[in-house]
């Protein structure tokens, strides 16, 4: 069986010739090879973004090259991954005309401008990880269909906005309200394709960490991350973080749209045929200082560094192993930016022999959730969280 290898990036400068009516132009298209079969991708720059790994172009799906996660704990806006489902994304947004509508089972339906949202409600900030449900799907063993991502469909940012609970309170929930659905400006191209709409229970919608965010890391949301407003659901997978959010509907029943009822489902229990909507993120950790196939000098003190996060209890401990899990060494945890954030870990190690080694990383949460050594397989390739094993060369 193939050892599950963590992300390494090889940037090949391939050149290809593009010919046009006016002659020929030489263009350099940088590509990256993700460490799984059929993993060649273009590295492309999109509006408001640095060069990212393109999974698909229409609609855009871009993942963050893994070395970016070694730069700091907060993912810069221009490095943050992009994930759309439907090709009818807005190409123009007039901030003056933009309205957030709140309707359904409420006493006072609302239609709020961005300015009203900012002035009528108290603002809050929270540092939280947004991770795609299918992050790391390309490593699934066996392979499964869907977006073939390495581990770059995640990011950690400081989100600023107003509490969804405060807005719902202003609208006045009916006593029968049980669920709340969220729709953004993006639309399907064909009328028969289900619109992308997600839902939370009223109980969840009222939790204090759930925000309607208009800022990310001190700036307006990047266009491709949901400008001008998105739902932020700390601890939950990115599928709930609806972008370009403009419609909130309060319901007196469970929402049964395609993207809740049919898509984004996980087995109720491992291996079970019965499914439930995906929800809270499972615990994960990564080595970021050394990518797959990195070289490390023998008999020299080497600093290892990485990140860990879970679904919102916070990280208690991260351990590493350089002997295939026989022994584990505790690492030091860095600054605590809150329970929904990436947590940094570091440690120093000296390798005494030359040759190939694997560095394994394993995190434990405040709720004593521990990463399994291998990801528990599910046929949608969701919530990968087995111990990541990075191959390095001791030279």
């Amino acid at each position: 069986m193939l050892p599950e290898r963590r992300h390494f990036l090889k940037t090949l400068a391939t050149t290809w010739v593009a010919s046009s009516l006016w002659g020929r132009a030489l263009r350099a298209a940088a590509t990256v090879t993700l460490p799984f079969e059929n993993g060649i991708r273009d590295l492309v720059q999109y509006p408001g973004k640095r060069k990212l790994i393109r999974l698909t172009s229409r609609p855009p799906q871009l993942e963050t090259p893994f070395q970016n996660f070694n730069e700091g704990l907060v993912t810069p806006n221009d490095a943050f991954f992009v994930r759309y489902h439907l090709s009818g994304l807005p190409t123009e947004i007039d901030v003056q005309k933009f309205r957030l509508e709140v309707r359904g089972k409420v006493q006072n339906p609302l239609s709020l401008t961005l300015a009203a949202l900012k002035s009528q409600f108290k603002s809050f900030e929270i540092c939280a990880v947004n991770q795609c449900s299918g992050n790391g799907r390309g490593f699934s063993n066996p392979r499964v269909g869907g977006g073939q991502l390495a581990n770059g469909a995640m990011g950690n940012a400081v989100w600023k906005g107003v509490r969804l609970a405060d807005v719902l309170k202003k609208a006045g929930l009916d006593s029968k309200a049980t669920h709340v659905s969220f729709d953004g400006l993006d639309r399907p191209l064909m009328p028969a394709t289900p619109d992308f709409v997600k839902a939370l229970t009223v109980e969840h919608a009222n939790r204090p960490e759930v925000l309607l965010a208009y800022q990310m890391n001190g700036q307006d949301l990047p266009y491709l991350n949901g400008f001008p407003l998105r739902l932020v659901v700390p601890g939950y997978f990115g599928t709930y973080w609806v972008k370009h959010l403009n419609q909130i509907e309060v319901l007196d029943h469970e929402f049964d749209g395609f993207w809740m009822k049919t898509a984004y489902r996980i087995p109720e229990a491992p291996g079970s045929e019965r499914t439930k909507p995906i929800g809270k993120m499972v615990i994960r950790s990564f080595l970021t200082s050394h990518l797959d196939q990195a070289e490390i000098s023998v008999e020299k003190k080497t600093r290892l560094r990485g990140i860990a996060f879970d679904g919102g209890t916070g990280i208690r401990e991260v351990r590493i192993s350089t002997d295939q899990g026989k022994s584990w060494t505790k690492t030091s945890l860095g600054k605590d930016l809150g329970p929904f954030s990436f947590r940094e870990w570091t440690c120093e190690t000296t390798f005494s022999e030359k040759g190939e080694k694997e560095i394994w990383v394993r995190a434990e949460s405040m709720a004593s959730e521990i990463q399994p050594l291998e990801t528990v397989f599910n046929k949608s390739g969701y919530q990968r969280n087995g111990v990541e094993k990075t191959k390095v060369k001791i030279v």
């Binding site: 079969e37 698909t56 172009s57 947004i93 007039d94 901030v95 390309g138 269909g145 028969a192």
Partner: protein
């Protein structure tokens, strides 16, 4: 580019880079071109793992039709699935 003009209006516009991905030429790939480009780019298909069996591509095409409403005539489905299996079902 996000052009936010702070005059009377503030309009953000999005200009995406040109779509460059293409379906691979192969037997009956004209049907894939005809039925599989209206909703999304070709890279949705070309980035899938290679070497998958016919059942994988059968499931994809059925999902496009039943879940997403792709207008694919029933009589073409078999040929489209064959074409996808032959072109993308092989190992790289």
């Amino acid at each position: 580019m996000i052009t936010v003009a702070f005059a009377a209006t503030a309009v953000a516009t999005l200009n995406l880079p040109q779509e460059t991905s293409r379906y691979i030429d192969g037997k009956n790939s004209h049907l894939v071109q005809a039925y599989c480009l209206s909703c999304h780019s070709a890279d949705y298909v070309t980035t899938q793992p290679r070497g998958q069996p016919r059942a994988f591509w059968e499931a994809v095409v059925q999902k496009m039709k039943k879940a997403y409403g792709a207008e694919i005539p029933d009589k073409e489905i078999r040929t489209i699935v064959d074409s996808l299996t032959e072109t993308y079902g092989r190992k790289n």
